[in-house]
């Protein structure tokens, strides 16, 4: 029992972390339709910036500054690269971000070396928040959850309190029409992309010391964040949020479940021995596949509900 309570808690916090990672992507992907493969790289950039700025001026200022820096870089990238290819459609955009991710990771390695850097949790936030059944719940996790929620709020406000969302959606299909109605489409795109990058940066500042800040960190989160956006449903912020929590919890609970299909099979009277065909598959424990469940989930969702959980439209 207590194990499940703890797992749920872990699941929630992990889910919120996932949302923190993917919120920026949700913004860009759902609004601009750009599959931003460099998103994870922005996340990494945020972490490394934070590492350096923290040494100079401390964690709290870094919390503000490094996302801004990343945001600027993102905006610049949109302004000088992405914008050129926008008219050629999504594939070139995607490849552009692809190329960027290569470059960023190399540059990071040039500046900060190829190994992890010693980027620590600020003393103020380290230590347990509370203890549950003899396991401590780290304060920093609490902080992380808080920030994730703040992100959710801010994006939500952006989407509902301003027309930016509408302008972009319209501009995706009829840029000229939107412009001739007096909206500065290019600027809006730049802002959104920059904003998305900044969110990724913020995630980096916080994820960087919660986990390990190293050049490999981008690749690690790489595709999972897409899963979230897709499962949640393109164009749906709430969906992404829901998906994050769902995936977080599923994955966490699955870790705790050691039963495999063997059990089910024997229940059905099938009796499977190590030399039955595909024994490996039969004996695969749920806990073992937990980390790849999200992909399974995504495929299933896309097949049976292509809109995604709360999505409004397909593709």
């Amino acid at each position: 029992m207590e194990f499940y309570i703890i797992s749920i808690l872990n699941g929630l916090s992990y889910g919120l972390l996932l949302f923190m990672l993917s919120s920026g992507l949700t913004l860009i992907f759902s609004m601009m339709g750009v599959l931003n493969f460099a998103h994870a790289s922005f996340y990494m950039l945020g972490a490394f910036f934070a590492y350096s700025t923290t040494r100079v001026i401390g964690f709290w200022p870094a919390l503000i500054i490094s996302p801004l820096l990343v945001g600027l870089i993102g905006a610049a990238f949109e302004r000088y690269c992405l914008r050129r290819v926008h008219k050629f459609g999504h594939v070139p955009e995607l490849l552009l971000t692809f190329g960027l991710s290569y470059i960023l990771v190399e540059l990071v390695q040039l500046v900060w070396g190829r190994g992890p850097v010693d980027y620590r949790i600020p003393p103020a936030l380290s230590g347990p928040l509370f203890t549950l059944y003899g396991l401590q719940f780290p304060m920093y996790r609490g902080f992380m959850m808080l920030v994730a929620l703040l992100m959710l709020l801010s994006i939500w406000l952006l989407l509902t309190r301003t027309r930016i969302g509408l302008v972009i959606q319209a501009a995706l299909t009829h840029p000229q029409a939107v412009e001739s109605l007096g909206h500065n489409v290019p600027r809006v795109f730049m802002l959104v992309f920059g904003g998305g990058a900044a969110l990724a940066g913020l995630a980096g500042v916080i994820g960087g010391n919660a986990f390990v800040t190293e050049p490999g960190m981008a690749e690690a989160v790489g595709s999972i964040i897409f899963v979230i956006v897709v499962v949640g449903g393109m164009g749906s912020l709430a969906g992404a949020f829901l998906a994050s929590l769902l995936i977080g919890i599923i994955q966490t609970l699955a870790v705790g479940i050691d039963s495999s299909m063997l059990g089910g099979a024997s229940m059905l009277g099938l009796h499977i021995t190590p030399d039955t065909f595909g024994y490996a598959l039969w004996s695969m424990r749920l806990s073992q596949v937990a980390p790849i469940l999200p992909y399974l989930l995504m495929v299933l969702i896309l097949i049976f509900r292509p809109k995604g959980l709360l999505g409004t439209r397909e593709g």
Partner: protein, 231 residues
């Protein structure tokens, strides 16, 4: 108010407008007529800064050539494209909302005006614009542009696909616009309402103006009509 002088426009390398010159004065309706492919839509796009062009475009005594579309729009020109260009994924309401420029800024027109003009739109206000009927879409684009509160409105074939009654209605509304001091550049195909409501008519052929005058003189001038319009 709008003064076009020796305007040349290009699509990529193809030269479409060859020195177009004309004026639009405050509060007048000018009809721009011509055959398919004569370059009327291109003229409209050129004014909105949507195609690459050379020459001189003066609006409210300022050179707008080379300005961005949104800047021109903000300076008070509204444009209703011929390919309706409604935003299919947004609702009717949202489409109109995007018509407004700096929000809050008081406009001559309110949502209610629009809905009064075309009750059909009110009924559909929360459906996705993409599923509207052809005609409804046409109405929507017109209203959307009006929401931006322009001083000059360029309308490219507004009556296309409209039922005769609605066509007449549109004619009426263009007149009311004029009464409110808004000038209209009306690009038309079928002479019907154009001749009825316009103060002046321009005829375009092969990318330049081949006739200027009142509808009356145009009606009189048969060979022009034969050569540049139709039998």
């Amino acid at each position: 108010m709008l003064k076009i002088d020796n305007l040349h426009a290009f699509y990529g390398k193809s030269h479409v407008l060859h020195g177009v010159s004309f004026e639009v004065h405050p509060g007048e309706i000018v009809a721009l007529l011509g055959r398919n492919g004569s370059g009327r839509s291109t003229t409209a796009k050129a004014i909105m800064g949507l195609v690459h062009c050379e020459g001189s475009l003066r609006w409210k005594d300022q050179e707008t050539l080379g300005k961005k579309a949104y800047e021109i729009a903000h300076s008070g020109i509204g444009y209703v494209p011929e390919s309706r260009d409604i935003f299919p994924r947004l609702t009717v309401q949202q489409n109109l909302l995007l018509g407004q420029k700096g929000k809050g800024k008081g406009s001559r027109w309110s949502f209610d005006d629009m809905y009064r003009m075309f009750p059909r739109l009110k009924e559909r206000q929360n459906t996705e614009a993409g599923v509207l009927s052809g005609g409804e879409q046409q109405m929507l684009t017109l209203c959307r542009t009006l929401m931006g509160d322009p001083d000059l409105i360029i309308i490219d074939e507004p009556t296309e696909g409209l039922a005769p009654k609605i066509v007449e209605l549109v004619g009426e509304y263009l007149k009311t616009l004029k009464e409110r001091g808004i000038s209209v550049l009306l690009i038309e195909q079928k002479l019907t309402i154009a001749m009825a409501i316009s103060d002046r008519a321009l005829v375009m052929g092969h990318g330049s103006i081949v006739f200027q005058g009142t509808p009356a003189t145009l009606r009189a001038n048969n060979d022009i009509r034969k050569e540049w319009l139709e039998v």
